[in-house]
């Protein structure tokens, strides 16, 4: 007698926990033959709001970790991804990818995570400055994370779309809530499991599955979200999100034309998007030995 396979329950990821959507709603994920392969949570506004609370709660701790420590944790995520390679490949195949494309996507995702792990303690040096003011002050500018970032990830891409969106945001010390691809959600949930076993404290990355046309207005009207990033190309959603962003002056980044599979979709400038520049002044005492010439 052949063994009966254990099927996985796909849930969402909020504050380091794996709850089902509070709404109890779901949508079926079907394969090419039209068979139901999984039941996916159709996240609600309330799920999003819970996720923002978790993200805000995690922000203070994550942003004040040392950059070196953040780098180690991102590297750990890459290690865990590598260990789960086969699972991601089979999920991508289940979602319609060829075996070759699936393998490529997983490897690119792992490498991209390592790429951003390395940037964690370097981008500050690229984007900082000491400013030679004309008065007797020491003055410098450094990047600091914007805060809570709400992301609507690419619809066409699964794992690589998530990694491209999340890695630069958390590398810079932000926390985030991410809506995964509606049609390719399997890797998102498995990716959450990777994060959960990577020493990444709960709440830093929160992942929802569901429908962008329902959620994009909630993402953009929430008053405790500091920044929005959108990787799709629905013009109406873009306009609505940009309009709503004005409610609390959110920083909006639209990557409707970005190919997340390209080399050009990774750079420290994506980290800089969700950074603020802080400039600090302090007087310099100009008494006594100021004329010393040696």
């Amino acid at each position: 007698m052949s063994r009966i396979e254990i099927l996985k329950t796909y849930k969402i990821y909020i504050g380091g926990q794996f709850p089902r959507t509070e709404s109890g709603r779901y949508y079926p994920l079907k394969n090419k033959k039209g068979e139901v392969t999984a039941t996916i949570c159709l996240s609600s506004r309330k799920d999003f709001r819970n996720a923002v609370v978790a993200a805000r709660g995690a922000f203070g701790g994550w942003s004040s970790r040392s950059a070196f420590n953040r780098g180690q944790i991102l590297y750990r995520i890459a290690e865990m991804l590598e260990g789960r390679k086969e699972q991601f490949v089979s999920e991508l195949i289940l979602q319609g990818a060829t075996a070759t494309a699936a393998k490529q996507e997983v490897e690119l995702s792992i490498d991209r995570m390592v790429y951003y792990a390395g940037w964690c303690d370097k981008f500050q040096q690229v984007f900082s400055s000491v400013n030679p003011v004309a008065s007797s002050h020491f003055n410098f500018s450094v990047p600091e994370p914007t805060g809570v970032v709400a992301i609507i990830a690419s619809e066409e891409n699964s794992l690589i779309g998530l990694v491209t969106a999340i890695a630069p945001v958390i590398a810079g010390g932000n926390t985030c809530v991410v809506l995964a691809s509606e049609s390719k959600p399997l890797c998102a949930v498995t990716f959450a499991e990777v994060l959960n076993t990577s020493d990444l404290p709960g709440g830093i990355v929160n992942i929802l599955t569901g429908n962008s046309s329902e959620l994009h207005s909630h993402f953009s009207t929430h008053m405790d979200v500091n920044s929005l990033i959108y990787y799709r190309n629905n013009k109406q959603e873009i306009k609505t999100m940009k309009e709503n962003a004005s409610l609390n002056v959110k920083r909006v980044f639209i990557y409707d034309k970005l190919n997340v599979n390209s080399e050009g979709s990774q750079s420290p400038y994506f980290i800089a998007d969700t950074q603020e520049t802080k400039t600090t002044w302090h007087p310099i005492e100009n008494i006594g030995s100021s004329k010393a010439g040696y």
Binding site: N131, V249, E276, T277, K278, H282
Partner: protein
């Protein structure tokens, strides 16, 4: 701890200052000003002009053209036509034009200072020593960037954006014009700039100066008017970039109204800065910092230190010293070189500040003003404190934009960080303590774009300026200020 009367300094009884007004005769102001479009002054389409007044005397100074949509369109067309040749000009040559503007401004500095004070109400001491020199230095600084842009952003190939629409406020008229125009030109853009309707004159004098500098026609267009003119700029379809400095309310409107377009946006909006005094601070210096923080430019400063947090153990002595120091402030004729606090910029702003007096009193805060006299004519307000305020008071949460300070006390660092950050704004903050590690603890935790430690209200062309949260996004000044005017894709 209570302060003994005998340690109080007496500044007033020993000497009186004679009036020392700056001479205004050498200044040339025309009776009427037209719009500066495509290198020349042209009449507005509507033929309408509005009067501009001296807020210290309530006398009319001149008449300013009101630009409508057709005028805006004309200015944008001129800027568009000029963009091609200007952006193709080598950075080296672009820079030389900007250097010329800086030099001409230095040569005409006194005239600019006098007009800035006549129309804006700020003390001549500030326009002469701060506004005008900083404006000229800003042009000088960015002139040098024009041929060095490829060094600013590693691995990028910076390109200009196109036509920039720029809308500026009335609190630092010429300086804000410089902050907008200088980096835009250095990066190869052309501009349409609108000054605030109560302070158009120094922008129009800048237009004359730009004409004299030989800058190619249409590279800088300066048009005047009120909110409708600004809206016409924001909504013009052939503008690539909007840069706005002003209130958070208008900033939000602008962000919303360009949502369906690809226009790039930077916003420098309101603020309500926390100025935090710890018990180990050098108290006399801190009191100077409080005074400078809230009474500089009549408090018409987006980064003004309008919320004072004093550690409880030194609250009595700090507040006493602050009151003593306030007694020495001279409020009155802005043209007088001894004046510390000039005129409120407009009647509208005067009424708004007075409205907040009512609000604060109704909320239960204690109202205090210095005993000075103020001129009968003109718009003046005595330096004002609100004591015993709390976080929920509107006078603590909202930007008043006047010489009004809301004071709270605190006990622990955690408490003051929480209170300082618990506000939608995040433009600036001040910290006063003798302990270095405490400074860095505070400066890293305060959610604000500029933190002044043991100083306040300092500005420099090389120093990036701009806010967190609802105080806006983007930076002006320094290397960081370039990215607002470049396509870095």
């Amino acid at each position: 701890m209570s302060t003994k009367k005998e340690i109080k300094l007496d500044f007033n009884s020993a000497w009186e200052l004679d009036p020392a007004p700056e001479d205004t005769k050498h200044v040339s102001i025309k009776k009427q000003y037209d719009l500066f479009i495509n290198g020349e002054f042209v009449k507005p389409n509507s033929k309408k002009y509005f009067a501009t007044y001296n807020p210290a005397t309530e006398e009319k100074i001149s008449e300013i053209a009101e630009a409508d949509e057709k005028d805006v369109d004309k200015a944008v067309k001129a800027a568009r036509a000029a963009f091609g040749p200007w952006s193709k000009l080598s950075g080296k040559e672009r820079g030389k034009y900007i250097y010329r503007i800086a030099r001409l401004m230095q040569e005409r500095a006194r005239e600019f200072a006098v007009i800035e004070t006549m129309e804006g109400g700020k003390p001549i001491r500030e326009s002469r020593d701060i506004d005008i020199p900083l404006a000229a230095n800003h042009f000088f600084y960015y002139a040098g960037w024009a041929d060095k842009l490829e060094y600013a952003f590693p691995n990028k190939n910076p390109k200009p954006l196109g036509v920039a629409g720029q809308i500026i406020p009335w609190n630092f008229p010429l300086l804000m014009a410089a902050w907008k125009i200088a980096p835009a030109l250095a990066c190869g853009n052309t501009v349409v700039l609108k000054p605030a309707e109560t302070t158009s004159l120094t922008a129009l004098k800048l237009a004359e100066l730009i004409r004299d500098s030989g800058l190619p026609k249409g590279v800088v267009n300066i048009i005047t008017g009120a909110g409708k003119t600004g809206a016409a700029i924001v909504n013009h379809p052939d503008i690539n970039k909007i840069a706005f400095t002003g209130s958070t309310d208008i900033g939000k409107l602008i962000q919303k109204s360009i949502a369906g377009t690809d226009k790039k946006l930077t916003l420098e909006l309101g603020g309500k800065a926390a100025n935090i005094i710890f018990e180990d601070a050098p108290i006399d210096q801190a009191v100077e910092g409080i005074i400078n923080g809230i009474f500089f430019n009549q408090g018409h400063v987006c980064c003004a230190g309008s919320r004072l947090f004093v550690q409880e153990s030194i609250a009595d002595i700090v507040i006493q010293k602050l009151k003593d120091r306030m007694e020495t402030l001279k409020v009155g004729d802005p043209m007088d070189k001894n004046t510390d606090i000039g005129a409120i910029n407009s009647k509208e702003q005067l009424l708004k500040i007075q409205e907040y007096f009512k609000i604060g009193k109704n909320e239960g805060a204690d109202f205090y003003q210095s005993s000075c006299s103020i001129p009968k004519k003109g718009y003046f307000i005595k330096p004002t404190l609100f004591l015993n305020t709390s976080q929920s008071h509107r006078i603590v949460q909202e930007e008043i934009f006047g010489p009004v300070l809301a004071i709270q006390t605190f006990r622990t660092i955690e408490e003051v960080i929480e209170k300082a950050n618990n506000i939608p704004y995040g433009l600036s903050a001040g910290v006063w303590t003798d302990k270095g590690s405490k400074i860095f603890n505070l400066t890293t935790k305060l959610r604000a774009g500029i933190v002044w430690a043991n100083t306040f209200n300092k500005f420099d062309p090389t120093s990036p300026f701009g806010g967190y949260k609802e105080s806006g996004f983007g930076r002006e000044g320094g290397l960081h200020g370039l990215s607002a005017y470049l396509d870095l894709k």
